[in-house]
């Protein structure tokens, strides 16, 4: 199985307010189609790690590979392109552009990528919304839908460019158990049916147990 994401000897320090070694020699791999979860106590560095893996944070030591390509030290603009094409990110808080419609929110990353025509993009976006059972919300304004719905719109947006990997920082953090279950099922289906790799930070033991692998973190280190 090919490796989608690989971290080698990643260290990170926060220098303010005091020097703080937040990530210590992180090494792991995510294979294609693998559904992995990260667990650990609050403050152990999960989010920090995810920001590095998603290329948004470039201030770290060590090496990061995406599809076996070393992307550490790439220029910011190149990294933006990589994020756009290869990485889908789902935040804990449903980050949508509130003045745009649900459909436009989902279409935006594809419009930026500009590999497909507008019709194709719109078609794909509606498709993704249907997969997540929110096709009927397409024309609504993003600020006028519920939290759980927003979460699913964010997942649809993360999927729009058919990325190599989806990363989520507690994507089910503020969903009720029914909706959390629902999101888990969607992730599992994407992983099994579409060979999508997933790396999800979660505090939900039940959620984590059902994934292929649990990466356990403690004090900035991976312990299993």
């Amino acid at each position: 199985m090919s490796i989608v994401l690989e971290a080698k000897h990643i260290d990170k320090y926060f220098r303010k307010p005091v020097l703080f070694h937040v990530l210590k020699d992180i090494n792991f791999q995510i294979k294609k189609g693998e559904f992995a979860s990260i667990m650990g106590k609050s403050g152990c560095g999960k989010s920090t790690l995810l920001y590095i893996l998603s290329t948004m944070d470039t201030n770290y030591d060590g090496e990061l590979f995406l599809n076996n390509e070393l992307i550490t030290n790439y220029h910011r603009d190149k990294l933006s392109y990589i994020r756009n094409k290869h990485i889908g990110f789902v935040f804990q808080f449903h980050y949508l552009l509130s003045e745009f419609s649900v459909l436009e929110n989902v279409m935006l990353p594809a419009k930026k990528l500009a590999e497909k025509s507008l019709q194709e993009i719109e078609h794909d976006a509606i498709e993704k919304l249907k997969i997540l059972n929110i096709g009927h919300l397409a024309k609504k304004r993003a600020s006028r839908i519920s939290g759980g719905e927003k979460q699913r719109v964010a997942i649809a947006r993360a999927l729009i460019n058919n990325p190599s990997i989806i990363m989520g920082d507690e994507p089910t953090g503020n969903l009720d158990s029914h909706n959390a279950e629902n999101v888990f099922n969607i992730f599992e289906r994407l992983s099994n049916d579409h060979g999508l790799s997933l790396l999800i930070v979660t505090h939900d033991k039940d959620f984590a147990k059902k994934t292929d692998r649990i990466i356990q973190m403690e004090d900035g280190k991976i312990i299993t």
Partner: protein
């Protein structure tokens, strides 16, 4: 790799959801540009009118014999006191004639010069106007009336009669309107003139002259050159002034220098004679631009403020855009295009409002004795001003948008996402 349709779409949505603030910012630009167009068209119109006033009737070079003390006093010719310190008290000008020596050959010579449009002889003299028992001092100038009308727009200042009438009437006079009023004279009446050295000559009034300058109109009259020569009892080569009109006014200074050297006469060029006039033009332009630039700076700060506020409000959007693959440059372009859209819309509206106002001013009646040919306020509607105004709007909004958009470019998405 800017994807303009996406960027403009986001910019448009941001602007439309904040339509109130956006319109305020755009209105600032509108006022700035509108005021600029109105001011500059009006001011340059005014300048143009005043320029015409001076330039049309003023010779480019005025050649005459200046009465001045000799530069070399006789004592300096006397060898015995050479090297000693001489003091000469109460120097008086040498007795010399006003007449330009060899005037006719000089005029002929000047007219052969390719730069010269025309060189016209004049005779200036002092006389008294006599009607019944009234006796008024004044000036009489002998001219070639038709040529004066052709080169110096004399026709504009003849309120009754015409230059031809003067040319074709022996012993005719074009009387200053002030004199006519004082002496209650009409066209067709006779007025008696007496030159300083005696004698009385009756002249027929063929028209009235009104320059608009009351003091001048109360003393100045015109007649034919021949008539003046007869009144003064001089030969027909007696000429006191030569007025030269050039094709290119820029040649006035070098040409006048040349004339002075060549003929040992005084030659006053129009630039030197009207230096203070140029100052007035410069200051009016200065005021126009100072006011316009001030207004635009205020408008620019409005845009700067609103964009700053917008970026502050849109932190989340910026973080999302960056997290989903928009580069810092894309984000900068989004906010830059918002500034430019505000500038464009505000600028175009400003041009339209300016155009409307200028058109309006153009219809307001403006009548003054000084300018018999002007009926409404003068306007100079130069397309260049509209181009400058529009560029002004774009440049100032660009500058106002640059700093805030640069800030948006630098925003670190991680910090925003963490801050939630």
């Amino acid at each position: 790799m800017a994807n303009w349709s996406v960027i403009l779409n986001i910019a448009k949505t941001h602007l439309l959801t904040k339509i109130k603030q956006t319109s305020t910012a755009a209105l600032g630009v509108t006022f700035g540009i509108g005021a600029y167009i109105t001011l500059v068209c009006f001011m340059t119109g005014l300048n143009g009118m005043l320029d015409d006033l001076i330039l049309n009737q003023t010779p480019h070079i005025h050649v005459y014999n200046e009465i001045e003390p000799s530069k070399k006093q006789p004592i300096s010719l006397y060898d015995n006191v050479e090297g000693s310190f001489n003091v000469v008290h109460s120097i008086k000008p040498k007795l010399s004639q006003k007449k330009i020596h060899n005037a006719l050959p000089i005029i002929k010579y000047l007219e052969e010069n390719p730069n010269v449009r025309g060189a016209l002889p004049q005779i200036k003299t002092q006389i008294f106007y006599i009607a019944g028992s009234i006796e008024l001092g004044g000036n009489l100038t002998g001219i070639n009336a038709v040529d004066e009308a052709r080169l110096f727009n004399m026709g504009d200042y003849i309120v009754e009669g015409s230059a031809e009438d003067l040319q074709n009437t022996d012993n005719g006079i074009l009387l200053g309107i002030g004199i006519a009023e004082k002496m209650s004279l009409k066209v067709g009446d006779r007025v008696q003139l007496s030159p300083i050295n005696g004698g009385i000559f009756p002249l027929k009034i063929v028209g009235f002259y009104q320059s608009g300058i009351a003091d001048l109109d109360a003393i100045q009259s015109f007649t034919n050159i021949k008539t003046v020569q007869r009144i003064l009892g001089k030969a027909n080569n007696y000429i006191t002034d030569i007025n030269v009109k050039l094709y290119d006014i820029e040649q006035a200074i070098p040409m006048s220098k040349k004339i002075e050297q060549q003929f040992n006469l005084t030659a006053m060029d129009i630039k030197t004679a009207n230096a203070q006039f140029e100052t007035g033009t410069t200051i009016r332009n200065l005021i126009t631009y100072a006011v316009s630039i001030t207004l635009l700076i205020v408008a620019g700060f409005g845009i700067y403020n609103i964009l700053n506020m917008l970026i502050y409000e849109k932190m989340n959007d910026i973080a999302i855009l960056k997290a989903t693959g928009f580069s810092g440059k894309d984000v900068q372009l989004i906010f830059m295009s918002q500034a430019m859209i505000i500038g464009f819309v505000g600028g175009v509206l400003g041009l339209l409002i300016g155009y409307g106002l200028v058109r309006l001013i153009d219809t307001i009646p403006f009548q003054t004795e000084a300018l018999p040919t002007v009926e409404t306020y003068p306007i100079n509607m130069n397309p260049l001003f509209f181009i400058i105004g529009f560029s002004f709007a774009m440049v100032s909004t660009f500058l106002a948008g640059y700093l805030p958009s640069k800030k948006a470019k630098k925003i670190d998405p991680v910090e925003i996402i963490r801050g939630q």
